[in-house]
C-alpha cells in the first residue's frame, strides 16, 4: 500500500487514460432525477453533490439477470454452452463509496462460502474499484456502526480522498490499483502528508454491533418482528438496492430448440419466495420475512460466514416506500 497525491488536472488526465485504455468505466451519473452508476466516457459526466446512489454497485459483480449457460437441442441431444469468463469486459468502477466497496466481501462470502461461483468471480476478477472517501452523510448512513467508516478501504483497489484544492489523496491498495495507476503514472506525485481523516465526515456510531448480535441470538420468537413489519409492503426494493443482498432465482428462457438458464435477483421479502410446491409456505407472513432479512444480515451471516451482511449504506431505508428505516429498527432491537 502506497499513498500519493493527485491534482485536479491529474485526476482528469488519469480518468481519460483509464477510458482510453479500453476499460469500461462506470461512475455515478445524475439523470432522471436520480444518481446511479452508468457507463461514462468523460469525467464531466460524473455526478457531484449527492449522498448516495440509488442502487449499489452490486450489479457490476452480480448482474440483475445473467445467463448461467445456454443450450440448444439438436436431434434429441442437448449441446451446452458454458458461461465464458472471457466475455466479461475489464471494468473500472469510479467514485464508489466505501460502504459499497465494503459490500464486495459479504457478497463474495455468500457466493463462495461453499462451492465457488464462477460467474461472480469472473466479474470480480475483471472489476477494479476506485472508491472516494465520504465527506458527507445523511441521516440514513450508519457505516460506522457496522465496522465501516467513511474512509474504509476494504474492497477498494484505490481510494481517493478529495482535498479542497480539487486534488486528492490517493491510497493504492492492491495490484489492480497499481495497474490503474500505471496507466498514467506521471500524475501521481508524492503524498503531501495531508491527514485523510480531516476530510472525512464525522459519523457517530449508532449502535453496538456485538450488542445487537447478542440480542438477535435470543430474538427469534420476539414480538418485535411483528411490530416492526406491520407497515412493510413486502416488495423487494430494500433487497435490490442493497450492496450485499444476494438471494436469486434461476429461470428458464426458452425459444423453441434454443434456451438459456438465467439467474436473476430475488428477494427474501417476497411472499412466494419460500412457497413449497405443496402449498406450504414456511415464511408465510411478512413478519417472518422481515425477521429473516434482519437475522440473516446481522446474525446468521456473522455466525456462518464471519461477515456482517450490512455495510451501513442506508439505501434500504431511503428506497423503502413506507419508511422501514433499518437504522431505527436495529437501534430499537439493540435497546430492547
Amino acid at each position: 500500500m502506497e499513498t500519493k497525491y493527485i491534482s485536479q488536472s491529474g485526476i482528469e488526465q488519469w480518468f481519460d487514460a483509464i477510458v482510453t485504455s479500453g476499460k469500461r468505466v462506470f461512475a455515478p451519473v445524475n439523470s432522471r432525477g436520480q444518481v446511479d452508476f452508468k457507463p461514462v466516457k468523460k469525467l464531466s459526466e460524473v455526478a457531484d453533490e449527492y449522498i448516495q446512489t440509488t442502487q449499489s454497485i452490486k450489479a457490476s459483480v452480480y448482474p440483475k439477470a445473467e445467463v448461467l449457460f445456454s443450450y440448444e437441442k439438436v436431434n434429441g441431444k442437448v449441446n451446452l454452452t458454458d458461461f465464458d469468463p472471457e466475455s466479461v469486459p475489464e471494468t473500472v468502477l469510479w467514485k464508489v463509496h466505501p460502504c459499497d466497496a465494503a459490500g464486495f466481501k459479504p457478497l463474495s462470502a455468500i457466493f463462495n462460502w461453499d462451492t465457488t461461483d464462477k460467474l461472480h468471480n469472473a466479474h470480480l476478477a475483471k472489476t477494479s474499484v476506485i472508491s472516494f472517501s465520504c465527506s458527507a452523510a445523511d441521516e440514513s448512513c450508519f457505516c460506522t456502526s457496522v465496522n465501516g467508516s467513511p474512509g474504509n478501504t476494504a474492497g477498494s483497489d484505490i481510494q481517493l480522498t478529495m482535498l479542497p484544492d480539487g486534488g486528492a489523496i490517493v491510497e493504492i491498495l492492491s495490484p489492480k490499483g497499481e495497474a490503474l495507476v500505471a496507466l498514467s503514472p506521471s500524475v501521481f506525485v508524492a503524498d503531501k502528508g495531508e491527514k485523510k481523516e480531516k476530510y472525512l465526515v464525522d459519523l457517530p456510531v449508532r449502535f453496538n454491533l456485538e450488542e445487537v448480535n447478542a440480542k438477535l441470538n435470543k430474538a427469534f420468537n420476539s414480538t418485535v418482528w411483528k411490530e416492526q413489519s406491520e407497515r412493510c409492503l413486502g416488495c423487494g426494493a430494500c433487497a435490490f438496492v442493497c450492496p450485499t443482498c444476494a438471494c436469486f432465482d434461476i429461470q428458464e428462457d426458452a425459444h423453441g430448440s434454443k434456451g438459456r438458464r438465467i439467474r436473476c435477483w430475488d428477494a427474501c421479502g417476497f411472499a412466494l419466495f419460500t412457497l413449497h410446491t405443496s402449498g406450504h409456505n414456511p415464511r408465510e407472513h411478512q413478519s417472518q420475512r422481515w425477521r429473516q432479512r434482519i437475522l440473516h444480515k446481522f446474525f446468521y451471516m456473522p455466525e456462518r460466514l464471519s461477515v456482517v451482511g450490512c455495510t451501513g449504506c442506508g439505501r434500504c431505508s431511503r428506497a423503502c416506500p413506507v419508511d422501514m428505516n433499518i437504522l431505527e429498527h436495529i437501534t430499537s432491537i439493540a435497546k430492547q
Binding site: 448482474p63 439477470a65 445467463v67
Partner: protein, 154 residues
C-alpha cells in the same frame, strides 16, 4: 415509407371459431387467394383472446397481428366480442402511450359469410405491414437482459 419488396412479414391472426375462422374456411371453399404470411390461431371467441398473447407475438418475432371475430351482435356467445372490443380500446390506448406501434395490430370483424372480406383483410394487412417494415424496434430488445453493459448479447 420505404418499400420492402423482399420483406415477408410474419403475421399471426387470433380469430374466433364461429365467425372469422368459419369465414376463413369460406375463403378456402370459395378458392379465393391470399398471401401466405398469416397463420391463424383459433379461439372459441374474441373474448377469450388475452392481450398478453399479442405482446408475446411481437416478442416472438411477429411483425403484425390480426385480431378478428364476429360483428357486433353476432357473437356466438352474445357479448364476447363486445368485451373484446373494450379490451382492445384500452389496450390500444396503453400500447400507444408506451410507444408500441399499434398500426401493427389490425382488428376486424369478419363473419362466417365474409370469405372475401377475410382474403382482403389478410392481403391488406400484409401490404400494410410490408410498408411498415419489420418490427425490429421491438424484436431487437426481446432477448436483451440489460439495455447495455454487463451481459449484452453480441
Amino acid at each position: 415509407m420505404s418499400s420492402n419488396t423482399d420483406f415477408e412479414p410474419k403475421i399471426i391472426a387470433f380469430v374466433c371459431n364461429w365467425c372469422t375462422y368459419a369465414g376463413a374456411d369460406l375463403t378456402g371453399t370459395s378458392r379465393l387467394k391470399y398471401a401466405t404470411n398469416v397463420k391463424i390461431v383459433r379461439f372459441p371467441c374474441t373474448g377469450r383472446i388475452d392481450f398478453l398473447l399479442l405482446l408475446k407475438s411481437f416478442a416472438q418475432g411477429a411483425d403484425g397481428v390480426i385480431v378478428s371475430g364476429c360483428h357486433p351482435n353476432d357473437c356466438h356467445y352474445t357479448s364476447g366480442n363486445f368485451h373484446a372490443r373494450r379490451r382492445w380500446i384500452a389496450f390500444r390506448s396503453v400500447l400507444d402511450l408506451m410507444g408500441v406501434d399499434i398500426r401493427r395490430i389490425q382488428y376486424s370483424w369478419v363473419s362466417a359469410a365474409e370469405g372475401s372480406k377475410w382474403a382482403d383483410l389478410v392481403n391488406n394487412t400484409v401490404a400494410d405491414i410490408r410498408a411498415l417494415g419489420p418490427y425490429a424496434e421491438y424484436q431487437k430488445v426481446a432477448d436483451y437482459l440489460e439495455k447495455e453493459g454487463y451481459n449484452e448479447e453480441a
